[in-house]
Symmetry: D2
Subunit: 362 residues, 4 copies
């Protein structure tokens, strides 16, 4: 199958460049392999890493060398199914799991396909992402949505999957206190996931008061902690621990770090109960300084990390379907596909206080 698939409508896409520009232009032709589907993408979410590829041109070892199409939080309808595809047919609503691993290496073989060194992650250079009308993807990584689920929810399964993977590696017991550092989309979803796990009390931090207000509306059971600009991590951590004690709880044994900011990781380390663990979801600079090594050692606090997810979509779908979490309020702004450039500009504009921006197409 080396001839381009015939598409009924144009295929506009959102491109970025190595010199840090974004622009709208048609997608390259799509080649439908026998194990692939072409999806009419109905919703795309914008994530901090899209902005990062645009503005910084790289994340870790992924570098924008040539123009490519952004986007990896998507849901849509199957438009065309390859000849080997049996579990999907045109018209089926699906969420796109962006990573397409090699399925041959050791990590794939043991089921940790997120660690596959040869993953083709659509939306990370050089692999074209989903901010276009039609996107081609290996069918195995398209997850059929239940009839009750909207495309908006379908596109939120990607950040939910990040959080579910973190919670799989660092689960919360029923009735255990939980601390979440950072109230961006990931922190907010972690907050919802902590509640859905039966954790209580819940405390979420941010340096931005408006994010905390949003958090309080989003999960009213939570307490918020505004991280002061002044002061040391150990001081912030002490104040956070006091907040837990004042709520009749003990200190949190699990802390989800959702900023990737150095001082916040330090605060997480100091705020954690002895014998607990800090699950670092946030990513940031290549190197971290000032880690409170002796504190971690004496308190036997583990630092754990995640890189995306594996096998999370079915869990995310069932969780969303249950109604225990409602992530739709996270979508604060919506743009048409034709206005995708504006969507990214809004996401990048701190004065706009967006949480999650969605790009839609009919």
């Amino acid at each position: 199958p080396t001839t381009a698939a015939q598409l009924p409508r144009p295929n506009p896409a959102l491109w970025t460049t190595k010199d840090h520009r974004i622009y709208g232009a048609p997608s390259p032709d799509l080649i439908l392999g026998p194990d692939d589907c072409i999806v009419h993408v109905r919703i795309n979410g914008i994530c901090g890493s899209d902005l990062h590829f645009w503005k910084a041109g790289e994340i870790g070892t992924c570098i924008v060398d040539e123009d490519y199409i952004l986007g990896h939080e998507a849901a849509g309808e199957v438009f065309m199914a390859g000849s080997n595809v049996t579990h999907l047919k045109p018209g089926d609503p699906v969420a796109i799991e962006p990573g397409q691993p090699c399925e041959e290496c050791h990590h794939c073989s043991i089921g940790e396909y997120n660690l596959c060194p040869d993953v083709a992650f659509s939306g990370a250079p050089p692999f074209h992402g989903s901010i276009r009308r039609y996107h081609v993807h290996r069918a195995k990584y398209l997850h059929k949505l239940p009839p009750t689920m909207t495309f908006t929810e379908g596109a939120l399964l990607e950040p939910l999957s990040v959080v579910l993977h973190a919670f799989e590696r660092s689960p919360l017991r029923l009735g255990s206190p939980a601390l979440i550092c950072g109230a961006g989309p990931i922190g907010l979803i972690a907050l919802a996931a902590a509640k859905a796990s039966g954790a209580f009390p819940l405390v979420i931090t941010d340096v931005d008061a408006s994010r905390l207000e949003f958090a309080k509306q989003f999960v009213p059971e939570c307490e918020t902690f505004l991280v002061p600009i002044q002061g040391l991590p150990v001081e912030h951590a002490t104040a956070i621990q006091k907040l837990f004690l004042g709520l009749g709880s003990v200190e949190p044994s699990i802390v989800y770090e959702c900023t990737g900011v150095q001082s916040s990781v330090h605060t997480a380390a100091f705020a954690c109960r002895r014998g607990g663990e800090v699950m670092v979801i946030g990513v940031g600079r290549a190197v971290m300084d000032g880690l409170p090594f002796m504190h971690l050692s004496l308190a036997e606090i583990d630092l754990k990390f995640i890189n995306r997810y594996h096998h999370s979509w079915p869990f995310a779908i069932r969780l969303m379907q249950s109604g225990y979490v409602n992530l739709k309020p996270l979508v604060t702004h919506r743009f048409k596909l034709e206005e995708a450039v504006g969507a990214l500009e809004t996401a990048a504009d701190k004065t706009k206080t967006s949480v999650k921006i969605h790009i839609w197409d009919d």
Copy 2:
């Protein structure tokens, strides 16, 4: 401290005998040790094991040799505190954790104090239980209730602790399907706990349709499966698995068995997904026949068991406090302490369709 504590009111109690009678009569005098408190018990829940000690005179190695006082699901107010007690004072609302372990043996030392061979479990012979006005107990095993919690909730912390211990040993991931076998108080609380853990879909079984109706009202998200009197466990299990598949889910990897009935354990084993586990909470006859050994072996399904709980009260209190679970609807009947005999008779009367019966005192 070998003289009896002075009590302001009589101390009526509910006794049982080795010849399977129950009667009301005054409690023996209470001796307040320096590490103890005397609690004015405000609520006592009745549990199947109370009925079992009454009707069968023994559970496992605990045998009713002499008359003793029943009851182990209690909450009340501290009336008097021993001289060493610092974390409690008269008037404090507390829940009673009935097991008082030796604190010296290996199991106590490693924190598994539920496995302490020398535990003094109040309510299991020969240790007097809490169905009396005043009960003396080691203060360390009295858990202060938050001001917002009622005594009714406080007395429900005991069965909740059973379930939390089972969930600690066999936790549910967010968005994972869960099966609960048996819709008695333990199964119903397991159902609520499964929902509070973010599990979905939820299926609960019983042989009694009225219990399933109750379950559906109690946790509307659940699906119910009426176990037919006819048919084999493997057939019931196949039908249960179909129910999950019909809900768009896979089979449950965790099954909570909450009946202790042999055929239900077999059904649980067949209904579980390959590679999963059956958490057997239910207890029953000393010996089990007909275990599907080869099925468990080929499918690598583990059988896990629990014996009560350790360190569960703080978790149970926080979970109850969160409002994520509301166990109060389980209390279908209430009796005054003076009518405790009637309470037990009602609990034993299958036609009365009680779920949880509470005995109260002012």
Copy 3:
């Protein structure tokens, strides 16, 4: 590739039938797929399941419906490699991992490929096994042997893999006591693995004194316990626990059951320390009676099961290569491929007191 591979020599094989006969006859033609290799099998071990397929005609859901070739413990040299095969070439020494899973199902995807419902296990009907000169196999499931390893050792990797999988699911801590029930090849390898795990003291049981003598020579650090024909499992278990206590140890928290015999599983359950686990490696009758249910419940002893292995060969190879275990003494008898029928007859003859019988070819 649908034409038969050209072989330089005849390809004699050992067949069994649904009416419980065995006979030597030529293998069917071999078809070499692009992902396969043809292996000149140099050593085949005989296992109890070979005898079981011969004598009983079935294990679980695997039924001998048509004549097929036995054998699944093999090592040899690559004779011919399919066109896609890159990690092997003719002449390479390899061990054969008999199970060839579907690589598509959920269990394969999460790395538990031993639970794949569509595994093609060579040596279990209807899939031809390796007791023939030339055997064709998916190259991915051929593991290259280090130059220092003999084919004899290579063929012992299969039962070692069984044990390693059990030890992965139920590992032993350094300095923890361990009990092994049954001193057949699996129990003996479990004994060696327990020693290699740093467990001490080690106790192994059998009903057959000669097997225990063998065990004592094989792993001199072990203590042996001859299970009397008389007496109850709980009595045998008490005697075993006393043996541990007499050695200055506590009771074993991990028991490896390697017989599949009902009374031995019961003994294992009673001999285990409170809070421990019984890893049931042995397989037996479809249904087990007399399980000490209340004992398991009160003592919180888990029953775990395994079905073969996944990803074990690299671990088995490194362990064998280390020299920490020496399994070669297990091979008590050797037969030429042409005498394979005699090999199986000897294995089935209890008076011959074989442990592991190897069939070799040059």
Copy 4:
């Protein structure tokens, strides 16, 4: 019991001061409580932390404010037993577990008594240590030695316990590769423990070639890697990984960091396989810079830490008793109690290339 115990001989001790001196002088009088024993200490090992308290005057929050007696790696004979002590009597050989926790706090209650904030650790200021003839200690933390074990071995149980605790938190599977960073006493014992766990291949690093020579003699199966003074951690790590690959292995999924040196922790992080973990046993400066944060995140490598041990002595005793490890070669120098100052000076003198120095008394 507030009067001093009568001792038959003088009680010389090794003291250190806040101004970084050491001197020999009599121990203060010993008060034997009812739960204590007085031990005639026969062997004391010297550890880096003894030198650190002497030379630096503090470790973490433990500060040398007043003169106190050093030593925490000891074994000896019970000389006198308190009135409540039942498991020991005069003449019994015992190893001393130095930490005496509060037994009341949460961490003690759940069995993690190493994290007890109120532990009285003999040998850490202000609690007098065991480098004296007679030492008083809570009997519960004296572990009876089997008759076959020497006092030299008994005193080695303390560093072995450190390693066993690390291995409990980060165990090695049979046949898995293992990397140990640092070939001091802790790294060497970790090496022996890795071998005793069945790990292979084994690689140990150091910056000091003589330590690596020692390691190779101590555990001949190991490979050594001399960390060059030049070069970056990532480069050293790449070379270490190549060493594993060259041995036919994969990269190590578990790395034991036994130096506490910043660059070595970085090397450990880079040398670890994706999805693995670095168990940081080494302790060092309060704060660590240059942590390869993004590498840990992308590779999902966890950093785990330990603070000493809990419940390790029985395991250490059984392991030592088994003969699987022989730690006696670690003792390179021996001094009489009267020459304890010389022992410490030798330990501090890098030109003396000691590994473990023992102080003995008859």
